[in-house]
Symmetry: C2
Subunit: 295 residues, 2 copies
């Protein structure tokens, strides 16, 4: 019988105190590796509430260098357990230069590298262009003790190009730390379709590329600073198999550690059954690098 890989998704809700959030993330990750997880994935920007609901220079104080105290704390857990950990952090690269950055820590090897979020959103209560310079490291994948993995972050979810490019780097698992939810005032009218679109497009990345997709969202309501609204993060973290079916899915409201067993052999079986990579028309894809093909 082929080896399976045990993955843990830490779906969290975040309080006002970054130290407490970080301690809880570390405790839940410790619980996960104790339960045998070889790959532990945390949600986007788990150290704090989702501060991008407003544009406020005071929030830059939440950024930290990478490597820094948070990576150091998780490197200890990785070294002790041998597990691979995926973190999402607010990176202070230089004074006045910040990124939304994911970090891969691999057992005793420590930090293998980072991915800086390439696609940066900006819409009401998701004012990320104020905080984050778009990534300049491209799309990446790393060989780890938990397979070859690639990390993309939240808004990247909507771009088939990001998934494809990461899969072409050989990634077996596409990991999406995320912070997405409903505007409460829109939820009745649009909420179901918004969530369905989010799940559907990520399942499609699994299908198009014949790989696993792991989406880790936060949950809970976070009020909008100085406003009357906020975001109800929709949870529902999940793992999709290479044929797109859901292996596991978390609730919309519960903080929980979700486990899935990934049979990495399913990737090649799926790609042999439906050999999409064989037939890509790379001779015709050049206009993908254009903004719009209106010449």
């Amino acid at each position: 019988m082929a080896k399976t890989l045990k993955v843990a998704i830490v779906q969290m809700s975040m309080g006002a105190d970054p130290a407490a959030n970080t301690a809880r993330a570390l405790a839940l990750s410790t619980e996960a590796v104790a339960a045998g997880a070889e790959l532990v994935c945390l949600p986007e920007l788990f150290r704090s509430r989702y501060f991008c609901q407003s544009e406020d220079a005071a929030h830059y104080a939440l950024a930290e260098e990478i490597p820094g105290p948070t990576t150091a704390a998780f490197e200890k857990l990785a070294a002790r357990s041998g597990a691979t950990l995926v973190l999402s952090l607010f990176e202070r690269r230089a004074p006045g230069l910040y990124h939304n950055t994911a970090v891969v820590i691999d057992g005793a090897k420590g930090m293998l590298g980072k991915y800086r979020k390439m696609h940066i959103p900006d819409d009401p209560r998701y004012y990320e262009k104020y905080y984050f310079t778009p990534g300049d490291l491209g799309f990446r994948a790393w060989d780890t003790g938990a397979g070859r993995i690639g990390v993309l972050v939240c808004w990247d979810q909507w771009y088939p190009e990001g998934a494809r490019l990461t899969a072409l780097k050989g990634a077996q698992i596409l990991i999406y730390p995320t912070a997405i939810g409903w505007h409460p005032e829109e939820k009745a009218a649009l909420g179901e379709r918004q969530h369905a679109a989010w799940e559907t497009i990520q399942r499609s990345h699994a299908i198009a590329n014949g790989c696993f997709v792991v989406a880790i969202n936060r949950t809970g309501f976070e009020p909008e600073p100085g406003g009357s609204g906020g975001i109800e993060f929709w949870g529902q973290s999940f793992v999709a198999a290479p044929d797109g079916h859901l292996l596991v899915k978390a609730s919309s409201t519960q903080q929980s550690v979700l486990y899935a067993e990934l049979d990495l052999g399913a990737i090649e079986r799926q790609r042999q059954g439906w050999p999409f990579l064989r037939d890509r028309r790379i001779d015709a894809y050049q206009p993908i690098t254009q903004r719009f093909d209106d010449e």
Copy 2:
């Protein structure tokens, strides 16, 4: 109130006689325009049974030139009704050179152009590489009386690149004539997931690109020539809105003309709500033109 566009999907099952299939396609299309359809879409290779279940040179006799007798017959209907018609034909381009080709016929203007299927499958009972040279016209869109439309064909469905490139040409509606079904012996184990993958990835093209997707499949069982198997075409033709939700969906077994009213204004509203096109990282997409990014 904004104008809506009435679209008809002609979900057919095909018999052994091409003349009878063509006559039925014409009759159903006539019924559709009489019911007010401004855009009528037919399934892939509707003139015949899905002959690619076997490799047999005798089937080349099914090919015809474009323009040819079938386009002429449908041009008459288009001219009479003013409707836009999308056909899928087995094109004889030259002796020994054949394509799987879609044709757009626009009211009194007649044939606007053709699209030659770019991604050609080849797997058991779908031996298309034997019959069809891969398309050499690239991805296309046309201004028609029924909006700006792009056509892709079946196996193209699995490639986000094809959908993206057609949307970047300005297409408001991506139309996928299709012939896909179950191998009966696999259906119990894999059928539901196969169908879900097919629907999911096409809905994802609507979501990623903020446009409508129209998928037209055939239905009915067609036996494998000289074999004991066959294909149970799964029908379930559908129209997806720019947020990915299904507007209409046909049954798996019934021949039927399915109608949908498309509010083309939903495209821009969706793209303003979730402005994905704004943030594409065209500076980083170049490796999409590589077979695999393993250098």
